[in-house]
Symmetry: C2
Subunit: 311 residues, 2 copies
Amino acid sequence: MSIKEPKIIRNKQEMRNWSRSMRSQGKTIGFVPTMGYLHQGHLSLITESQKHTQLTVVSIYVNPGQFAVNEDLSTYPSDLLGDIEKLKSLPNGVDVVFNPQNLYHYGEFGVMRRNFKDEKIVSCLEGEVGFGHETWVRVENLEKGMCGMSRPVFFRGVASVVAKLFNIVEPDVAVFGKKDYQQWKIIQRMVRDLDFDVKVIGSELMRDEDGLAMSSRNVHLSPQQRKQALSISRSLFEAKSAAKKGETICSELRRSVIECIEFAGGKIDYVEIVDQESLEAVEEIKNGVVVCIAAWFGKVRLIDNMEIDAS
Amino acid sequence: MSIKEPKIIRNKQEMRNWSRSMRSQGKTIGFVPTMGYLHQGHLSLITESQKHTQLTVVSIYVNPGQFAVNEDLSTYPSDLLGDIEKLKSLPNGVDVVFNPQNLYHYGEFGVMRRNFKDEKIVSCLEGEVGFGHETWVRVENLEKGMCGMSRPVFFRGVASVVAKLFNIVEPDVAVFGKKDYQQWKIIQRMVRDLDFDVKVIGSELMRDEDGLAMSSRNVHLSPQQRKQALSISRSLFEAKSAAKKGETICSELRRSVIECIEFAGGKIDYVEIVDQESLEAVEEIKNGVVVCIAAWFGKVRLIDNMEIDAS
């Protein structure tokens, strides 16, 4: 059985031309955007995409637009060659890896420059007034809470880069992991509100054997921190179990989760129990909710979530 | 010679299917978005589009997303049947008129509702948190000055509806009038920054015989107000003439313009002399600038502009 070598494309127009050529031959295209350093969670997104389309494009691009200057852009892990080997190992392979050098390069007029002048929170992409990138897609309500509070440029960075990628790759289907639940909801809403003709699929969160939600950032955890971080997933399973047994008061469920994580040495960023559609906090479980957590173990910020559907 | 009857399409998917069908036959598509009540200025955009593409789509849609609740959405003029007759009168006609009823209707979850709760400036589109439209495209620097000051929701409304229309119509080329200079620049920048594969063309401003810049809102001027409003174009021609004769100090040029309009009874919203690319105000004419004016005559707000290229 031959191993499929993905075509590596770095140029925007070349990527678009490939998609258009495939479409003109009647093929359907699935798309999985990633920041690389691929793990089993990413691979499951690709497998999901292949259920829906004939061809698959995976993008690998660490997007500066979604990192604030005080965040971990410079330490985000990468391993392109390792990523390509992992993609080749998939049963159906991957057709294209889109790996642009700089999505914000627009010719002589579009240099990416950093601007600390105003001391306000800026992304790693802020340029001076003039010719730098300045267009952002805002999904104004869904981006407010949870990660939107602690990472103020994150969701506008994600929505904007996904809009760019959709305009370059022109996929029929795009798959996002439900581990980044708020991100998935935001992309769904952006696609609906801006009439992108892309079917957005949320793929189930994947956990390592010990329960830790798979994430590229897990590589930064020391063995001890990893053990402590298991409190996140453990507290989520316990919350779900309690809810199934009849505990519907969210303040109680939140309290248990917070205690569990803090006892293990984690620093809570947020613990929220929110409506699955609107992401608004609820006081009592009536409709489907999702318990969302962000917590620090050392310098590593981890997120996780668990849906609790209406009984 | 037969008169071409445009196909009227109201449904998003039908519009998209038409474009894809044409493209699969190798045709190119030009697009002119309008709010209807068409005048010679609009028709010149269509003629411009036809120089570049084989087929032309004109959208007619009064977009609530770009009107604040205290603006003139309810009195914006419309005459769809008259518009269609004008389109039929063009030498090459128009292939499609896209005339949706509500671009913000997304099924049961997407009802347009008004929200005055917070008393902040909202568009006529603001819904409650939940399922109403909430995605906006922000071109953050270009939208700041001039009309962005006096009409705080305007440019995000325009950029967002144009993004939607581009995703529905999927044109190769789109034509915008330079009478709305800041709008044109914003759309150019949005297309560049979000990688829309659309060629944006700015078409020269058209004036009536008496010099008044063509605008759908001119219909609201009384005969006397129209005479007074000629001060706008007159002052622009005088400013350009003075600049050609060597006056490069912008405060002087602005002063003359302001005097001329106020003497005629106009209420100035703004007079700015800005760089053609960045739209930032300049103190002295060195590179290409554009003189931009917004002024009220009675209840009618008129805008106009004139480029002064570098000598």
